[in-house]
């Protein structure tokens, strides 16, 4: 019998091999491994893990079904709270959510809740277990803007209650950041994202791609001309930020969004697709979040030597620990306590290097992290052909600027109530990154659920 203090290890693709391909890094558990890991769960009466999950999945509930080997039932338990478990099981920051509250974590390693959730969801996808659908529609029409996790969750929840839901998506594929941002090797698109969206379609949700709300039509027009009684805005935070340093418009400087969109959404890594990518031979990724790790690991797979340039130290890296660990294993080089001052450009307008400065950490700032300060005179130059700026994103102003009476705050985020998504405009609800700024998949899902609840409360009174 294995050590109950330790988790059942999960099989992964070898680091050297995977650094050259776009196949999924983590293989996940098989039935045997899942049942063994499930047996470590103590089925706590007052399960702390549930409090750590933003959508309150009944964690001991589904794990006890795995113990019995009844995966179909486990899927139903998860389905009560989450519409996208194969996705969350892969990309949730579990170490700071469900798993960090697990009682097993006090003496040993917490139960691998995320990996178990993923196992159940993958089993349901492979065996085509259908979600439970509403018996008949209630005749109320709701529009959802954006097909990211918040929009999908809101649409799925409303459809289960019998609403006629149409999701409008600006891009040509559904999924939001799940398809254009998070890379294939962390979240397979055909095998996982597409299939999980199929499940939302099976609930009766309609999807219209290539519709940019604010351009192709507006929220007011959806309500006045197309008879939608309520609208949920889940349009994300897609607008990339740049540093404002010299040389940023040179050829070879990308936002992480552009680099990742070319590779993920447009599949530039696969030569049978038409969209090009200037992959680069020596690449610097500026920033330290999940997005920076994804851009770095993508550039690595496209054949580059990759440096992460981050102005604080390792302890402050905002990316998930697992992602930093994977990036290092694969060979990404970390230039910490280093900040760009200028991008150096050759006579043809291409990046040839970057002038950077060394930093040290001072007193904690408003965010509680120690403030990075330049060390005078420590500038030096590095040779590069590509720079990827991964400095964060903010909500796109397109919707707010074309919707009468929709209040936004100073950070361009839409103002909405946390418990039901209600905005300053009647019958209009919002949630996810559009409201919070860039956050996480599961928080966006939680906001989608809250929005669905708010819309149901409004329309069931009608």
């Amino acid at each position: 019998m294995a050590d109950v203090l330790k988790r059942v290890p999960v099989r992964e693709q070898d680091a050297k091999v995977r650094a050259t391909n776009f196949e999924e890094v983590c293989y996940g558990y098989n039935m045997e491994e899942a049942m063994e890991e499930a047996s470590r769960c103590l089925n706590c009466k007052n399960a702390k893990c549930i409090q750590g999950c933003p959508v309150s999945i009944n964690i001991p509930g589904f794990i006890s079904k795995i113990k019995e080997g009844n995966i179909e039932e486990a899927y139903k338990v998860i389905g009560e709270s989450s519409a996208l478990p194969a996705i969350c099981g892969r990309v949730c920051p579990q170490e700071s959510q469900c798993e960090c509250k697990c009682i097993r974590g006090i003496k040993g390693e917490p139960v691998s809740i995320g990996k178990l959730e993923r196992f159940v969801a993958d089993y349901a996808l492979e065996n085509d277990i259908k979600p439970v659908k509403a018996e008949k529609t209630n005749g109320h029409k709701v529009a959802v803007i954006g097909s990211g996790p918040s929009g999908l969750t809101c649409a799925g929840d409303l459809a289960k209650l019998g609403y006629e839901v149409t999701v409008f998506e600006a891009l040509h594929e559904l999924g939001g950041v799940l398809v254009y941002g998070i890379p294939e090797f962390r979240l397979p698109k055909q095998k996982v994202v597409k299939k999980e969206i199929e499940k939302v379609k099976e609930l009766g949700v309609k999807f219209e791609t290539n519709v940019v709300i604010g351009k192709s039509t507006t929220i007011d027009q959806l309500m006045e001309e197309e008879d939608f009684e309520a609208v949920f805005i889940g349009s994300g935070a897609g607008l990339p930020m740049f540093m404002g340093i010299p040389g940023e418009t040179a050829n070879g400087v990308f936002s992480a969004n552009e680099y990742l969109t070319r590779s993920n959404l447009m599949k530039a890594f696969d030569s049978s697709y038409d969209t090009p990518i200037a992959a680069g031979k020596k690449v610097a990724v500026v920033g330290g979040g999940n997005v920076a790790m994804d851009a770095a690991r993508t550039a690595l797979r496209l054949g580059a030597e990759v440096h992460i340039v981050y102005r604080r130290s390792e302890a402050e890296l905002p990316a998930r620990v697992e992602e930093v660990h994977h990036a290092k294993e694969e060979g990404v080089i970390f230039d910490l306590l280093t900040n760009p001052k200028e991008i150096l450009v050759d006579e043809n307008g291409w990046v040839k290097g970057m002038k950077v400065i060394k930093m040290e950490l001072g007193e904690p700032d408003a965010s509680g992290r120690r403030r990075p300060m330049e060390i005078p005179g420590s500038e030096y130059e590095i040779e590069l052909d590509t720079v990827i700026m991964s400095l964060g994103t903010s909500p796109n102003p397109l919707i707010a600027s074309t919707t009468k009476g929709l209040e936004t705050n100073r950070r361009k985020c839409i103002v909405a109530e946390e418990e039901n998504g209600q905005t300053s405009k009647a019958c209009v609800f919002a949630g996810g990154d559009a409201v919070t700024g860039a956050a996480t998949v599961i928080l966006a899902m939680g906001a989608g659920k809250a929005g669905a609840k708010g819309i149901h409360e409004l329309l069931s009174r009608k």
């Binding site: 940019v212 990308f254 969004n257």
Partner: protein
């Protein structure tokens, strides 16, 4: 799917299509563009809206074959369809929101180069529909490549064709025609110039000298067209703007054309390879030594 109702060759390398896209047709205005994607593996290709029919629900596009994707697109026929067709994107031309009476008091000059005649056409047509006669200069390399002549004549006040080789109309570049019109005493309050960046650059250098405020329509490399990627960023004066959401039309006297032209070249190598692969078709076996063939 977005069905092609009409596909026509206008001139050597220049094609026109009417595409069914009712949502776009209902909401578009002059100055805006669409993004089309032919099939699953296709690129997202931005094209200016050349005309629209709100009743029938169609958008007219006109494009020139320059690389692999536009060559493939030229093979599409009436009855075929685009997998994706998004729009309208970008901002309408500034005059769409202006007071008609004050517009009527302005003397307006439109300058189009090559396929630039296509994006200029809906603007001139809009003017005509609002009772405003404008002067239009259309330049092309040679007579056979001049497009939309009868359409443009029908809506323009004065129409001045120019050919580089002198086979039709004014002999010479559009800039020499602008100079000539100015010398003849025409005082323009505003100029709208749309065409290749190099043409817009030289028009702007001239109109700056002549003191004519000038609007240009920028066509940098784009991906999403919704403000999400920043590929289309340009320097407009000291500011960085995203052409797909802040433009595509800008004050031409503030545009950094040299930088924008360099950025247009960013994928030259990859584009060249893609074209080679398309031309060689199935016989392609990596002879160029760079692309690795059909590995």
């Amino acid at each position: 799917m977005y069905k092609i109702l009409k596909a026509e060759k206008l001139a050597d390398m220049i094609y026109l299509m009417d595409v069914e896209a009712p949502r776009v047709a209902r909401h578009c205005e002059p100055g805006q563009f669409v993004i089309v994607k032919m099939d699953e593996k296709g690129e997202r290709i931005p094209l200016t809206i050349c005309d629209y029919d709100r009743e029938v629900g169609t958008i007219t596009i006109v494009f020139q074959t320059v690389g692999a994707s536009t060559h493939k697109m030229a093979e599409l026929k009436a009855g075929d369809a685009f997998r994706d067709f998004t729009g309208p994107l970008g901002c309408p031309s500034e005059f769409v929101g202006e007071d008609i009476e004050s517009l009527k008091n302005k003397k307006i000059l439109f300058v189009a180069g090559g396929v630039g005649a296509a994006p200029v056409y809906p603007q001139v047509k809009w003017m005509k529909e609002h009772g405003i006669d404008v002067d239009v200069i259309v330049g092309s390399k040679t007579k056979d490549m001049l497009i939309l002549e009868s359409e443009m004549r029908a809506v323009a006040g004065n129409y001045y064709p120019c050919t580089d080789d002198g086979t039709y109309g004014h002999a010479g570049m559009v800039t020499t025609k602008i100079e000539k019109l100015a010398e003849e005493g025409n005082k323009y309050d505003v100029c709208v110039a749309i065409g290749p960046m190099i043409m817009m650059k030289f028009v702007c250098l001239l109109t700056k000298k002549l003191n004519i405020p000038t609007i240009v329509s920028m066509n940098p490399i784009m991906v999403d067209g919704t403000g999400m990627c920043g590929a289309c960023r340009l320097h407009i004066g000291d500011e960085i703007k995203f052409a797909c959401v802040d433009g595509p039309e800008f004050d031409g006297h503030l545009v950094n054309f040299d930088e924008a032209m360099k950025r247009q070249q960013m994928y030259k190598t990859e584009e060249g390879r893609a074209m080679l692969k398309l031309q060689e078709g199935d016989t392609h076996h990596g002879g160029c030594g760079h692309c690795g063939g059909d590995k």
